[in-house]
Amino acid sequence: MTQPRKKADTLGRDNSITKDEQIIALLLNRDPDGLALLYDQYAKPMYGLIFQVLRNTPAAEEVLQDAMMKIWNKATSYDPEKGNLINWCLQIARNTAIDRLRLKRINASSSELTENLSQQLQTAALNPETIGVRELLVNLQPEHRDILELLYFQGYSQSEAAEALNIPLGTLKTRCYAAINQLSAMFT
């Protein structure tokens, strides 16, 4: 498996700040060059994340397109106080992908008529075939992996995730903290 690169390198923060500022200034001016630059800079991690959520190329392409349109249309709502540009782009990419995933779940529920919906969600979420694929997650403790799988990649609310994993809400929260620490340690 590929080893994660160092955080400072992957985020490229030092030399990308001015580029981010340039992108934002162009986007606020409704200059298409802003979106083209943003695309060159961040489309790959956005598409990677969307694909991790949806696991389907045509759907992932549509969602990337939708996410880019959202960025184009709501550039004014970007608040640097809440995080840097890549975090904002990834948040939009993930939200758009999760919305699509929820719609897919609704459609699946109408064809699987006899199945109880919550059971279905649970089975889909805990299916080892879908868990094993996120390469880096394999290195996490199983209980941390389940947490990130449900909350980050499947967009469960905290109570849905606690119910699916059959653990109290307090335990879910503590595991969240530990899961991120473990994941974060892989990049430092």
Binding site: A43, P45, M69, L117, K173, L183
Partner: protein, 247 residues
């Protein structure tokens, strides 16, 4: 307040993963504005996810960028103030003053117009989100059951799904497969209780891909759809039944 305990509680991770209630989100944002340590931890979690995404970065098809750039060129730009010629001064004001006032009035109207457009767009967007949320809540409600209405002998491929909540009486309908009808005819949904039919509304073929809200149904042991005259009828034409399904 014990900031470290708050940071270690796991709530900030849930915040970044968007898994909190609106009230909890406001709480985290208020505390983050007050305590740099909380803000720093949020950044740290976001950066961890960003590093994760960069590690799994995947190049999309090159044609996609072109498609997106083409799409934004089709999006209308915000209204910009129109250039007009100021009339000659006849009121004692200088030409410059008239120009300045005209420009200001134009700029203000453009701003007001833009604000109005934004407000309309937001209201419409909010309404759509609320509708989707309501439907989602309804589908996830434990009392809501899906019922497959399968094709009769004359229409073996027809298929419709009903989502019915007996306690609320609410009924949503999704057309999976129904043949198109001539203009003068329309599909009508019926609820059946002890063999007695009651109309549950007319189907819209224009919204075939969406979940349609039907009339409330208090009690039913089956649902069926018939082909009727446009506008519907009081009692079903049984030999025109297309699909039926038991609760």
């Amino acid at each position: 307040m014990d900031i470290n305990a708050y940071i270690e509680s796991g709530i900030l991770e849930l915040y970044v993963m968007d898994a909190l209630s609106p009230a909890e989100i406001s709480e985290v944002e208020a505390l983050s504005a007050m305590h740099p340590a909380i803000k720093a931890r949020i950044r740290n979690i976001q950066d961890t996810f960003s590093a994760f995404a960069l590690h799994d970065a995947l190049p999309p098809r090159p044609a996609l960028k072109e498609a997106i750039m083409h799409q934004i060129e089709q999006t209308p730009l915000p209204v910009s103030p129109a250039v007009t010629t100021a009339p000659h001064s006849t009121t004692g004001l200088s030409t410059w003053a008239v120009l300045a006032i005209t420009a200001m009035v134009l700029a203000l109207s453009a701003l007001a117009y833009q604000a109005w457009i934004n407000q309309q767009a937001r209201a419409s967007c909010r309404q759509q989100t609320e509708e989707v949320q309501q439907k989602l809540n309804f589908l996830l409600n434990q009392g809501t059951i899906p019922i497959a209405l399968k094709g009769t002998e004359s229409h073996p491929d027809a298929l419709v799904t009903i989502f019915w909540n007996a306690r609320q009486g609410k009924t949503l309908l999704e057309i999976k497969n129904l043949p198109a009808l001539p203009d003068e005819l329309q599909y009508q949904l019926w609820s059946l209780k002890d063999g007695k039919p009651k109309s549950a509304g007319l189907l819209s073929m224009a919204n075939a891909g969406e979940l349609q809200s039907m009339l409330n149904v208090e009690e039913a042991d089956a649902f069926a759809i018939t082909i009727e005259q446009k506008g519907g009828v009081e009692s079903p034409t049984l030999n025109q039944m297309v699909v039926i399904g038991k609760v």
